[in-house]
Symmetry: C2
Subunit: 252 residues, 2 copies
């Protein structure tokens, strides 16, 4: 947690927040913050800035016998810095297994991706769509952890698309407009159509990462019809959670 | 497991292996391989090729009552392909916490890194050096999983260096010779000395990834004296396991 992310509900006055639970514990146990110490804070979808630890012993709780076990901490906050620039990359991800999904949501938020579309593919096990990791609160948890790691405040948007063909045919071409769309997929024959890294200009990208089992030929065809180019990452079969930072490293 | 990694001990004849345990289970339960099916195999530090599932019912075990529960599987193997090219990157890694270390060893092996040096830094908790993850067998397990993921056979070498200064002063300059050595570290002032991605030629790199808490100024100074340049990855603070593929994506 390199930044403490605040929500509206944390504010007890325009410049003061009261934190309990995970963040309180982190500030107390990991950061071991003392009164007057400055911590990096940020408001979800808002500005970042500084939070100063305020004495836990305000007049109200100076009671006897003194309570030693505080359950919250208060920070006086000053929010005056813009969050870092978003990464100009839309991620389309074949629904992976829950541990992998958690890791990729974390990682995508950390890398600055602001739009994540989770898509069905033929080789995605249907039962995965019932996973509790797909619940909004569970996904938000990982996204928040990713933002806290990277020092960012802007929550990514996550969309679930359970039907491959209608999404790729009807929605994807519109999403691709103005972007370079890439599918991480080894292309054996036609090298001419494969994306070349030379064109890594300062523009918008869209990246499709398929399922562990691979993308089927008809799926690749439909993705290409919608405007995607294939991006061959070499002979090694990389695990999904490494593909994302690796491609980000190539493009930006 | 995209490749089944074989060791000398698995061979019961020059062209036949007998597998039990994890690999047997994987072949039986995940791949659901039938007699005659071809699987990708490779010998540790040797060639890759094809393994053909041989009937479990050899003459010897056609006994009555028939044993239904086999505990091993045999493959007839033909090894005739070279493993993929190694990544020309030496990784120097501040010892991270055990779960992160496991993930990075996996990831480094998967990416094709063949030399990993685990180094002490000031902000590495001393107790981590007693971690059971640093035992050879535990590290090998992750490296093997990484090779199996990527379809590679060449085991990376892992060295442990518990003393920062002697290593950086006495050994690092020799290791750096002929390579471009980079430290993933945000450099605030001097931009001139920061590595520019323009020079990403087809040559050897050495990459230093510091501890989560950051690299201290005197450590950066010593690394620079030894021949390292800093590589600024931008304003976001990335988790160690994403730094490695991201930098690999940039350099190769």
């Amino acid at each position: 947690m390199n930044l403490i992310l605040l929500s509206d509900a944390d504010f007890i006055s325009p410049t003061r927040v009261r934190l309990s639970g995970r963040r309180f514990k982190h500030i107390q146990e990991i950061l071991k913050a003392q009164e007057g110490q400055h911590l990096t804070v940020g408001k979800i979808n808002g500005l970042m800035g500084q939070g100063t630890v305020v004495s836990e012993e305000t007049e109200q709780n100076l009671s006897f016998p003194r309570k030693r076990e505080s359950t919250y901490i208060e920070l006086e906050v000053k929010l005056d810095q813009k969050p870092p620039q978003a990464l100009h990359l839309t991620l389309i991800l074949a629904l992976p297994r829950p541990p992998m999904l958690k890791r990729i949501l974390f990682s995508a938020a950390m890398l600055g991706i602001k739009k994540i579309i989770i898509l069905n593919f033929n080789r995605v096990e249907k039962s995965l769509w019932n996973s509790s990791v797909l619940k909004i609160a569970a996904m938000e948890e990982q996204l928040i952890l990713g933002l806290e790691q990277a020092k960012d405040t802007v929550m990514p948007e996550v969309l679930l698309k359970k039907r491959f063909k209608p999404f790729v045919q009807d929605e994807l071409p519109g999403l691709i407009k103005g972007k370079t769309a890439l599918v991480a997929h080894p292309e054996k024959v036609v090298t001419g159509t494969t994306f070349s890294i030379k064109s890594r200009a300062c523009h918008d990208f869209l990246l499709v990462i398929g399922p562990e089992g691979g993308i089927l030929d008809f799926e690749i065809s439909l993705l290409k019809e919608a405007g995607c180019q294939t991006l061959d990452l070499g002979p090694r079969i990389l695990r999904t959670d490494s593909v994302l930072p690796l491609v980000v490293g190539r493009l930006f």
